[in-house]
Subunit: 215 residues, 2 copies
Amino acid sequence: MTAKSPTAQEAVLRELRADIVLGVLAPGSQVVQESLAHRYGVSRVPLREALKILEGEGLVTYHPHRGYFVMELSVDDLTEVYRLRSLLEAEALRAAVSTLTDEDLEQLRGLLGQVEQSSGEGDLESLTIANRAFHFAIFERSAMPRLVRVLQQLWDATDVYRAIYFRSEVNRARIDGEHRHILAALDARDPEAAIAAHEVHRSHSVQVLGTQLAE
Amino acid sequence: MTAKSPTAQEAVLRELRADIVLGVLAPGSQVVQESLAHRYGVSRVPLREALKILEGEGLVTYHPHRGYFVMELSVDDLTEVYRLRSLLEAEALRAAVSTLTDEDLEQLRGLLGQVEQSSGEGDLESLTIANRAFHFAIFERSAMPRLVRVLQQLWDATDVYRAIYFRSEVNRARIDGEHRHILAALDARDPEAAIAAHEVHRSHSVQVLGTQLAE
DNA sequence: CCTAGCAGGATTGGATCCAATCTGTGGCTA
DNA sequence: TAGCCACAGATTGGATCCAATCCTGCTAGG
């Protein structure tokens, strides 16, 4: 049903994530394996393996003999994720900034260009992807693979909210400016400035999302 | 073959973890599903689901159409894990120490008693369990479930080494003392002292393990 | 002698089928 | 009327079977 993938579990994993993030699967609702497998055009086996991954990421919960349920994220959970991101991204930046090469910065500039283009066009799908590519290109320069993995999980867990955040044009304009601050700090090879810029970046989004989540 | 469990995947998961931790499954070697499934007396389905969980925890790696391989941890990986633990456990302690009740402290004293008993008897299996129970009883008081989850993963990833560490009587004697320092800091409701005590606790083990790992 | 290509076996990925467990409903009893 | 038990349907858990892919060793050609 989607782009080809070496294995069905991967394809299902992507679709499942998208469906959870976009709210197609209501938070708190049970994941009925049969119907979902049918929806994705596969059997239950690869679906279950994908669910096990999502369980590890905290996007779904699992109760033996009762099944999987879409996680519902609370304000507390959101703030906890951002607190952890704050700690861990600071560490990644400390490790990354000092080792940045000129080629790295050139690459980051290119990625940022894609972010801004998607942002301008209002293409939320590609904006989400480009934004993530930009930030993780930085984090990966830390040469701390396990740290990057944990950060991936934390980002995955809040993709739902990021999509909401990007919907507003005001927010999109703001992140463009914040991204340029980040890049400037990286250009100057100033770790503390980069950490501070990220702090601002995150605190804005968690603030907006927190109030929006309280409805 | 083991204690009963509501589902086979859970039982397999425990056995698999033990076999990896104890080195029965050599690091770097491929996990041949058929033979392992036979070994545990189940089919390949629950085994694969258990492997997906371990993949999420970083105990095994997965390559599509090639299978799962037991992760081999390098010194770099070990130090990275401990660096992350340092950051995250400090955060957990900051959140936990201030809210500790007298009952909590009583419970911790009980858990520590079990640790020391197992340590004295040289029962490594129950020592591993009791040690973990003690430390996570503290972390869980942070009321930050996601943080606890990440810490669980980090601990899981280095269980292999912890088992080695406990083997030496000298090390066991040392951790008993370190645990008492931790408990004293908690008794005093002094977060910074607790963080410092943990720092000492970790740095000893990472130091010993690091040299031992370099063989 | 070295390399490309091609079987054959081994191993994983996925689908289908059956067993085990849970959930909800209705009837019975105190 | 409230509570408990039994039964039926739904749903998950696990086993077996088949298809797709990968790896190994051999062979043929340069």
